[in-house]
């Protein structure tokens, strides 16, 4: 009986900590006051352009506060809230002020302390910060337990977060894999080896091989000690178009697959990583390996696609540091963020204009990829067995959400689909008695 009472009390405490607490109250009050101020106005666009955390809240706690507030502001369908946050620097928000021209009102949030309470001042400015139109101050008690809860939330849902759904052993070194919705509304996975491409159709929890296409490379060809490659696919006219390239070739080959046959479609002189729209023009963006080496040149190539056709003459290049892996973050079809693992194993995030914004304080491994549903996977910087780090990308900011020790070395992490779940394909290489073995795994969120 005593045990049951204790459990009940503990459960009530947890419940209390999760509902209606300080953060919730404070962000709720700010949201309500902003909604109340704008209630008679229609089709207005507004953004937070300044966020200062002068309170005892830590950097992470401040970020959580901001995310909670934004999630509320975005819910109001009558108002058009545009999130301009790029990053947090020394507890304060960093915003993309190049985009303020398009907004009607700017919001300034300042977090302060008042004895044991956290206060929040809100100032709303009209366009171009000409005049202050609204000022409000709220404060509330935020207990240490609630703050701690916010911290553990990052790591506290391991069982319901990323899990391994699938694993197969491969005889040869797979260079890359990708999954895509293709012909007949089916999901296909393309396995890219140095000398062939295998296309599989997903049938429930099994993969059915549909076709094998041999790859014959041409000069200039760079023999390499360790082959590396990258595969990218897109859908056009109900056909899968895929691009394969590697550190052994100065170009990538292009193929299409209509559900029956694979057709050669030529070659382009870089390996695409992503497709998105800039100023209503579609672009393929990617990079090239340094010839015969194990990293990419510090250049991002953008090639225009007009009416679905590659316009080889329309290429522009953005310079970035040399890198091992790159992740293009998209919002709808627009480039949102661009991140790399550079040659010093640092995670670096860039703005849409390719200005370096964030550099990780810790090192990661060379493999990185995104899942297509706000998660990115990064391998570990380790000389022993590898680590799979999963980060949740929330409003353009990465938060570590999951870590898993891996037996072996992660060769690549790529976007995948398995059993209608978005996730990550991970190739693990193990060395046993001087023989390497390869294991392809699919990891995804275990949400119900």
């Amino acid at each position: 009986m005593k045990k049951l009472t204790l459990i009940t009390v503990f459960f009530l405490l947890i419940l209390k900590s999760l509902t209606g607490q300080g953060f919730e109250i404070l962000t709720g009050k700010i949201n309500n006051s902003i909604n109340s101020y704008f209630k008679n106005k229609t089709e207005i666009k507004y953004s937070i352009v300044k966020f200062q955390n002068n309170s005892i809240l830590t950097d992470i706690e401040g970020q959580k506060f901001y995310q909670l507030l934004v999630s509320k502001l975005e819910l109001n369908k009558n108002l058009n809230f545009i999130d301009l946050l790029l990053d947090f620097n020394k507890k304060n928000g960093v915003f993309n002020l190049n985009r303020v021209n398009g907004i009607d009102y700017s919001v300034y949030i300042n977090l302060t302390n008042n004895k044991n309470k956290i206060g929040s001042g809100i100032v709303v400015y009209s366009r171009d910060l000409e005049k202050i139109v609204f000022v409000k101050y709220f404060e509330t008690l935020i207990k240490k337990g609630e703050r701690d809860l916010l911290k553990i939330k990052n790591y506290g849902f391991k069982d319901s977060a990323f899990v391994k759904f699938f694993e197969i052993n491969l005889n040869n070194q797979l260079l890359d894999v990708c999954s895509i919705n293709g012909p007949e509304d089916s999901i296909y996975s393309i396995f890219y080896y140095f000398d062939k491409v295998e296309i599989y159709k997903h049938e429930g929890k099994t993969l059915k091989k549909k076709i094998t296409e041999k790859l014959l490379w041409e000069r200039p060809f760079f023999p390499v000690i360790k082959k590396e490659g990258k595969l990218f696919s897109l859908i056009k006219d109900k056909e899968i178009y895929f691009f394969v390239g590697g550190n052994f070739s100065s170009y990538s080959r292009v193929f299409s697959y209509d559900g029956k046959t694979v057709n050669k479609k030529g070659k382009i002189n870089f390996i695409p990583f992503s497709k998105f729209t800039i100023n209503n023009i579609d672009y393929l963006a990617g990079s090239k390996y340094a010839s015969g080496k194990n990293f990419f040149l510090g250049k991002i190539f953008f090639m225009a696609l007009k009416n679905g056709k590659i316009i080889s003459s329309e290429i522009f290049i953005k310079k970035v540091p040399e890198f091992f892996s790159a992740i293009f973050g998209k919002n709808e079809n627009n480039l949102n963020t661009f991140s790399i693992i550079d040659k010093n194993y640092l995670f670096k995030r860039f703005t849409q204009d390719f200005n370096e914004k964030v550099v990780s304080k810790i090192k990661y491994g060379f493999a990185a990829g995104n899942s297509g549903d706000n998660y990115i996977g990064l391998s570990g910087y380790t000389m022993n067995n590898d680590i799979l780090n999963i980060m949740n990308v929330d409003h353009g900011i990465e938060n570590e959400s999951f870590k898993q020790d891996i037996n072996g070395s992660i060769s690549f992490i790529s976007k995948g689909i398995w059993n209608e779940k978005k996730g990550l394909w991970i190739l693990i290489e193990r060395n046993k008695f001087e023989n390497n073995s390869f294991h392809l795994q699919f990891w995804g969120r275990n949400k119900k």
Binding site: F221, I225, A290, G292, N294, F366, N384, G408, E429, F433
Partner: protein
């Protein structure tokens, strides 16, 4: 427990960190005369292995391997070796490697005046090519033909002298000072991790890799046993010289070499493997001077021994002996002596790997140092050695080698002067340098630590 530990270490993995492409490795070697492939001394063997790729090589496990051919088969019944060229290979200039280059390289090798080439010449009836396939037809069944093709002198050559097949190619050469080699992007085995190799031809204090006497203690360096030794011989190509002069010159040169880090050599190959010890009584200095003082000797020396020139001249001067020295380029040595029958005295060197069979070493001495003195007797020796090798009778082999060596010495055919073993010293800042069967450092996987 120990076994378990080994198992655990083996099971742990490859490394989640990528190799870096960086670093300059400094090597001290003798300056080559040109880029025309030559392996007459150990230094050249190393140098040319950096810029030319062998058809075949023996890997760490001593298995035959190739970066050039994807397929190499010997069909005993047809007596045909079939080689298939790997696709898309290029020389350092980007020019394609074709089976025409294989033909050119093989012909170049077979025309060389070295025992390995002569041995292969006798075996090969013809060769032909079709597309990426190259066929070598043999005169008779040679089960170890692929082993014979691992000769370090059999390398992939381009018709263009500025195109190289090795891991590196020369980008800068300052005569008497240094040469810079840079990685060949198209190297068939995969581009090197190093940014460059600087070969210095002068005494550069502590290069990262150098040849030295075994057992030298150098902090920060690891010693690798190269298995290579160098013998220096005095031979008499024309044969028209009095015995006293021969022995006097032999004594003089032997005394000189022993003063300069060489070791006494009393056999034609090495003391460890030779069944016969050569005992030639040296003359006293007085007698040497008396015989040689007014003899007007012209001593021919192979160019790879150029480094002894200064010391030898000083040595001769100190004993007031007038001998003029003439250095001849190694690659032209044999041709020169054939066309200059007046050459009476020649000092040359030969490089041996201790792993090679003694009968092969004796064969190469007879073939390469006999010049115009080669006659039926020596031809008989060569045949005898070939037969014995096939019989595989150790006792008979020792007896035969003893007879041959004794005859060669009695004929005053060639006299062994001195020898030197080599160790390779490698800076510990570099890792993954391995030695191949021929005592050459394999640079492909070398990286900075």
């Amino acid at each position: 427990m120990k076994k378990l530990l080994i198992l655990l270490i083996t099971l742990t993995f490859l490394g989640a960190i990528k190799e870096k492409y960086e670093g300059t490795l400094n090597i001290r070697l003798n300056e080559p005369v040109n880029f025309s492939h030559s392996t007459s001394n150990y230094s050249d063997t190393i140098f040319y292995s950096l810029i030319y790729e062998n058809f075949f090589y023996l890997n760490k496990k001593a298995d035959i391997s190739s970066n050039i051919f994807s397929q190499y088969i010997y069909e005993k019944e047809k007596r045909v070796v079939t080689l298939k060229l790997k696709p898309n290979l290029s020389f350092s200039t980007g020019a394609p490697v074709t089976t025409k280059n294989i033909k050119y390289s093989l012909r170049f090798f077979l025309n060389r005046d070295i025992s390995a080439a002569k041995k292969l010449s006798r075996v090969i009836r013809s060769f032909r090519y079709e597309g990426d396939f190259f066929y070598i037809d043999l005169n008779y069944n040679v089960p170890d033909i692929l082993n014979i093709l691992t000769a370090p002198e059999l390398v992939l050559l381009s018709l263009n002298e500025q195109a190289f097949s090795g891991q590196f190619f020369p980008s800068q050469w300052e005569r008497n000072k240094f040469m810079i080699l840079v990685p060949n992007l198209f190297y068939p085995g995969g581009r090197s991790y190093l940014n460059q190799i600087k070969i210095v031809f002068y005494d550069y204090y502590y290069p990262d890799l150098y040849l030295g006497d075994p057992g030298s203690v150098n902090k920060g360096y690891s010693e690798k046993n190269s298995g290579i030794y160098q013998n220096i011989y005095l031979s008499f190509p024309s044969g028209k010289t009095g015995t006293n002069t021969k022995i006097a010159l032999y004594s003089l040169l032997k005394n000189f070499l022993l003063k300069f880090n060489f070791v006494r050599l009393n056999s034609l190959t090495s003391a460890e493997e030779s069944p016969v010890s050569v005992g030639i009584k040296k003359f006293s200095f007085r007698k040497i001077r008396t015989i040689l003082r007014y003899s007007q000797i012209k001593l021919y020396i192979s160019s790879s021994l150029k480094r002894i020139e200064k010391d030898l001249l000083e040595y001769l001067k100190s004993y007031n002996i007038n001998i003029s020295l003439v250095f001849i380029e190694n690659s032209k040595l044999k041709e020169f002596i054939k066309s200059n029958r007046s050459v009476k005295f020649l000092v040359s060197e030969k490089l041996f790997n201790k792993k090679d069979h003694i009968e092969d070493k004796i064969r190469s001495i007879i073939s390469e140092l006999s010049f115009t003195r080669f006659n039926e007797k020596y031809l008989k020796f060569l045949k005898e050695l070939e037969e014995i090798k096939n019989i595989n009778n150790e006792e008979l082999l020792i007896e035969s080698v003893s007879n041959i060596v004794t005859t060669l010495i009695n004929d005053e055919f060639v006299l062994p002067l001195a020898h030197k073993k080599f160790s390779l010293y490698i800076n510990n800042n570099f890792k993954d340098i391995f030695m191949d069967y021929y005592g050459r450092p394999l640079m492909q996987m070398v990286k900075t630590k």
